[in-house]
């Protein structure tokens, strides 16, 4: 096997960088949209409205129990049948594959964020809300200043995990031809026959991005819980 790493400084390297840019755009937009879905629905589930709860449950269970790549294919191939024609044509102008991937991934990851948000809110004792209300805070203020900071500490590590998971799952967008990192690797492999070098570079980029997100999460949660007494780390078995 002959490997030539210098090709990464030429055209293939440029393609990979373009791919990275698309991956980051895809991840950023997906994250934003997933939060926009996940937060309100998470709060709704926490409040457990009788009328909306079955709908929220259905959304979360359907989205979580089906493969994200099949969801991407569904939105990609079905949109022209489901969406009104003007909307679909407008979307096609701005690059329809990209939009379908963002929507599908946001719906998928939004469901996980719903559960994280709900678990975070559930971890705060209900007495806190009652006390805040008794002290004269309105419901939104009590939620924003009393409940959210406490729930945030619990919810933050899994939310950061979710962000890294989104970056990894954007690789599925290549199934419908979005030119992100993994797609560019396949392209370089198919047309320039430099698959191994490109695959190694792409793997490294994913690892660096995901590990950076994880590191950022560690710093953030250390900072958020700096006023909170640290729980004793569990003794490992080998300490006997």
């Amino acid at each position: 096997m002959h490997l030539d790493w210098t090709i990464l400084w030429g055209n293939p390297g440029l393609l990979i960088l373009q791919g990275l840019l698309v991956t980051l755009q895809l991840s950023g937009l997906t994250l934003l949209l997933a939060f926009l879905i996940g937060f309100p629905v998470g709060v709704l589930r926490w409040l457990s409205f009788r009328t909306l709860e079955p709908l929220c449950w259905l959304y979360v269970e359907l989205a979580r129990n089906t493969p994200p790549v099949v969801q991407i294919l569904f939105w990609y191939f079905s949109a022209s049948y489901i969406l009104p024609a003007p909307l679909f044509l407008g979307l096609r102008e701005v690059g329809y594959e990209f939009g379908a991937a963002v929507v599908a991934l946001a719906i998928y990851h939004g469901a996980f964020i719903v559960e994280v948000v709900r678990a975070g809110l559930n971890s705060v004792s209900t007495g806190q809300l009652d006390a805040a209300r008794a002290l004269g805070l309105g419901f939104t203020r009590a939620l924003a200043f009393i409940i959210a900071p406490q729930a945030g500490r619990i919810a933050l590590p899994p939310l950061v995990n979710e962000a890294a998971s989104i970056v990894k799952n954007t690789s599925l967008a290549m199934a419908i031809g979005v030119a992100e990192l993994t797609y560019q690797y396949r392209h370089i492999d198919a047309f320039l026959f430099r698959g191994v070098e490109a695959l190694a570079a792409v793997t490294l980029i994913y690892a660096v991005v995901c590990l950076s997100i994880a590191g950022f999460g560690h710093l953030l949660s250390a900072r958020l819980s700096r006023h909170v007494a640290r729980r004793e780390a569990p003794l490992s078995l080998t300490s006997e």
Binding site: M1, E61, L62, R64, N65, T66, P67, P68, V69, V70, Q71, L73, F74, F77, S78, Y81, I82, A164, K168, N169, S171, L172, M174, A175, T182, Y185, R186, D189, G195, V196, L199, V202, T203, Y206, A207, C210, L211, A214, P234, L235, S236, L237, T238, S239, E240
Partner: protein
């Protein structure tokens, strides 16, 4: 919506078992289940070993298992599938599509299961091990009879979640052309051309039913008394 036109008996058969009855070639849901179950079994074994090694007294083993977990958790599964499928071919060793996906899925899932196993073992009170040792059990016996059963039940909910993810992840196999549920569904959709909504909704529904079924099955195991009655006859 014309589900009746799309889902003829022949198309259902193809979606569920592939060309099993015509040409003896497995595909569709059967392929997905075979792949998923094989990956779940293998990754549980590998993840169990790596998870125990994460708290090993030997530093090299601890470091090696930590590197394994971090390396495989921070790369997309699809990239691992491509490594497994295309990299051995460079040395003239062409793995089958099924083997490639199985290897990638096993290595990926095992990295997550290792963390679950480590958490499960740590969740057992150290006092239990000390008590077992004081009663004369060897360190190995203490692990096998005291730590493992307790850790197992603590791990079950997280493991169940991971198994559902593994079943979902088998769908990546279609990207290298393995005839799994997604690939067969896609082929049926491509042949009909005009019914993507019906085809993909059905695909989503089949995955949903399989995963809900698996979740409910594993939740039934979480009831410790029922588990003992069924599996240990206590």
């Amino acid at each position: 919506m014309e589900f009746g036109r799309v889902w003829t008996a022949a198309n259902w058969e193809r979606l569920l078992v592939g060309d099993l009855f015509n040409h003896g070639v497995i595909g569709g849901l059967l392929m997905t289940l075979l792949l998923g179950i094989a990956a779940i079994v293998l990754s549980t074994l590998l993840g169990g070993i790596v998870g125990v090694l994460r708290d090993s007294p030997r530093r090299t083993l601890r470091a090696a298992s930590a590197i394994y977990v971090q390396a495989f958790r921070n790369v997309p599964l699809l990239i691992l599938v491509f490594w497994a499928y295309f990299f051995p071919a460079v040395f003239g060793l062409q793995l089958s599509k099924f083997t490639s996906v199985l290897i990638a899925l096993t290595l990926f899932t095992a990295a997550y299961i290792a963390e679950i196993v480590r958490g499960g073992i740590r969740s057992v009170e150290p006092g239990h091990v000390e008590a077992a040792r004081a009663l004369g059990l060897s360190p190995f016996e203490a692990r096998l009879y005291v730590v493992l059963p307790q850790a197992f039940f603590n791990m079950l909910p997280a493991l169940a979640g991971r198994y559902v993810v593994a079943i979902k992840n088998t769908s990546l196999a279609f990207l290298i052309g393995l005839a799994d549920l997604t690939e067969i569904g896609k082929q049926i959709g491509a042949r009909l051309m005009t019914a993507p909504v019906e085809v993909y909704l059905t695909l989503l529904l089949v995955y949903f039913l399989v995963n809900r079924g698996l979740s409910l099955l594993l939740r039934a195991l979480e009831d410790r008394r029922r588990f003992n009655r069924v599996f240990l006859r206590i």
